[in-house]
């Protein structure tokens, strides 16, 4: 048994199955926690009927998804209608393949490293992750198109424009890490944040971290960027016509996407499975227990991000579409271009991991942005410019 596990291929295969099951479970409970957290923030109780503390709620939800009638309206594009949830869910479930979950492992304790606790470790891991992230757009676009419903159609083009717009600053923010490390292999990116003279990239480039975080919200269609499913305007958005499990698959896909995205940002900026100074979490710790510890740490960081996602969702209101586009094209894109240029310059000068240089540059860029925004008189144009003056009646004022 152990001999088979020492083969990377079989190790990966078993890890895949375990991770898939774990992620499905986490996704199901994400929905429960989403509801619990929203209830907590709104001073309500939340789901509490199914099992103790409502803990069996996800099971009940799943059963309901499965048993409800699955309506396929008459004038939808049927093959695409079925394909869209398949893509949305399937794509979200393959992103975790390249995340480095627990470094290298020595399974039998003979001092020889046997396998990497990672499903796959291709040289272009980061590119794979970005590509898979972009594929997520197809679920939304195909779903919205196949619906043949005006709400869904508007949602689909909106959300395509949104995801396209935010993918560019995302790519540039990641580029900051890529140029600093000089490698697209995710395990190497983690190792580059560990050891003498190295720190987590969030310390070097906090600005890029923030930009990546914002774009992750946009890419996963989470509030404040959930224009694709803006209930008040677009009913259900791109999944208006979906019901039962097909709707559920979009739902699950969104959370799976969040998990992958959280793992992604953790690996890039927060040291992956590493915590500075904690024994068992260093590159030299290769025992099977260290691997499990590392997995737990990475999982904890991911859960932290998931909480952040939910916290933001129940705190911030949704953007208007023009604000959304302005933020990306006129805000994040130029800033991330400057950041990318700055990081490149640092590498050229040999100061890539020099904290004062990196932080100083980030601070300077932040200062420029603040000054620019302070001086900026945003011109009010278009429909807003023609709105009538709001007059408050005198009696209402008192």
């Amino acid at each position: 048994m152990l001999d088979i596990l020492k083969d990377q291929f079989w190790f990966s295969a078993i890890l895949t199955v375990i991770l898939a099951v774990v992620i499905l479970g986490v996704v199901a409970y994400c929905i429960y926690f989403e509801r619990k957290i929203s209830a907590w923030m709104q001073d309500r109780v939340g789901p509490n009927r199914v099992g103790p503390l409502g803990l069996f709620q996800p099971l009940a939800d799943g059963g309901k998804f499965l048993l409800k009638e699955d309506i396929i309206p008459a004038n939808v594009d049927k093959p695409l209608f079925v394909l869209a949830p398949f893509i949305a869910f399937g794509v979200a479930m393959i992103g975790f393949a390249v995340l480095p979950w627990g470094g290298v492992v020595d399974l039998d304790g003979d001092g020889v490293v046997d396998v990497t606790a990672q499903v796959a470790d291709p040289g272009i891991g980061l590119l794979y992750l970005l590509g898979i992230g972009s594929l997520g757009i197809y679920g939304v676009v195909l779903g919205g198109w196949a619906n043949n419903n005006k709400y869904a159609f508007f949602a689909a083009i909106r959300s395509t424009a949104q995801m396209l717009s935010y993918e560019i600053p995302m790519g540039l923010a990641i580029f900051v890490v890529v140029i600093t490390v000089g490698n697209l292999r995710l395990e190497e990116i983690v190792l580059a944040q560990i050891g003498e003279g190295n720190v987590w990239h969030v310390v070097l480039h906090p600005f890029a971290f923030v930009i990546l975080l914002i774009t992750l919200f946009a890419e996963t269609n989470r509030t404040p960027f959930d224009l694709a499913e803006a209930e008040q305007e677009l009913v259900g958005g791109y999944h208006t016509e979906y019901s039962a499990l097909k709707f559920g698959m979009f739902f699950l896909g969104e959370y799976a996407h969040m998990i992958t995205g959280s793992g992604f940002i953790t690996v890039l900026f927060l040291g992956g499975w590493h915590l500075p100074g904690v024994p068992g979490l260093q590159p030299g710790d290769v025992s099977i227990w260290a691997m499990l510890f590392k997995m737990i740490v990475l999982g904890a960081k991911i859960v932290g991000f998931l909480f952040l996602f939910m916290w933001v969702r129940w705190t911030l209101p949704r953007f208007r579409f023009d604000q959304l586009m302005r933020l990306s094209w006129k805000g994040l894109l130029p800033i991330s271009m400057i950041l990318a240029a700055y990081a490149t310059t640092l590498v050229y000068l040999g100061k890539a991991t020099n904290i004062p240089w990196a932080l100083g540059g980030n601070a300077a860029i932040l200062l420029i942005v603040l000054i620019y925004n302070g001086l900026l008189r945003t011109e009010i144009t278009g429909r807003q410019a023609n709105l009538p003056e709001v007059t408050i009646p005198a009696e209402a004022r008192s």
Binding site: P73, I94, A97, F153, I157, E167, G182, T240, V347, R383
Partner: protein, 140 residues
């Protein structure tokens, strides 16, 4: 295991992941199809427009600005696609201080690589400034 020793090993694992994800998704769809009730009806089959009678089709023209976003995305995403493979090469040249041999067989120092990407970036920034001024990013 032959494939495990080749350089394609990571991709074999990725194929397994894709297969697992596909099987899970497909089995969910098939299971749901098997157990769901299916009661057809004219109202159920009609497109949902908040309960109003459906007017026309959803396949209609939409704002040209969405097309512009798509074109701009292509432009800038090509930039990112160029930047990413360039980054490790440049990092290596800058870190070791040695010239990298390019595909044309000529040595390229870190300075040359930086200048080459700089030219590309300048063109891109010019285009960006132009589009900004022309109101391509104006949505309100």
């Amino acid at each position: 295991m032959l494939i495990a020793e080749s350089s394609l090993a990571p991709y074999a694992s990725i194929v397994i992941v894709i297969a697992v994800a596909g099987v899970i998704a497909a089995s969910m769809l098939i299971l749901a199809h098997a157990v769901r009730p299916a009661l057809k009806g004219d109202v159920k089959d009609s497109t949902y427009e908040s309960g109003m009678p459906v007017i026309g089709d959803a396949r209609r023209r939409f704002n040209v600005r969405f097309y512009i976003v798509a074109m701009l995305f292509l432009l800038f995403d090509v930039e990112v696609v160029f930047l990413w493979p360039w980054a490790p090469v440049f990092h290596k040249a800058a870190a070791t201080g040695e010239a990298i041999t390019t595909a044309g067989g000529q040595p390229a120092s870190a300075g040359f690589l930086l200048a080459a990407m700089g030219v590309f970036a300048v063109f891109l920034v010019v285009g960006f400034a132009y589009e900004w001024r022309r109101g391509m990013f104006q949505w309100d």
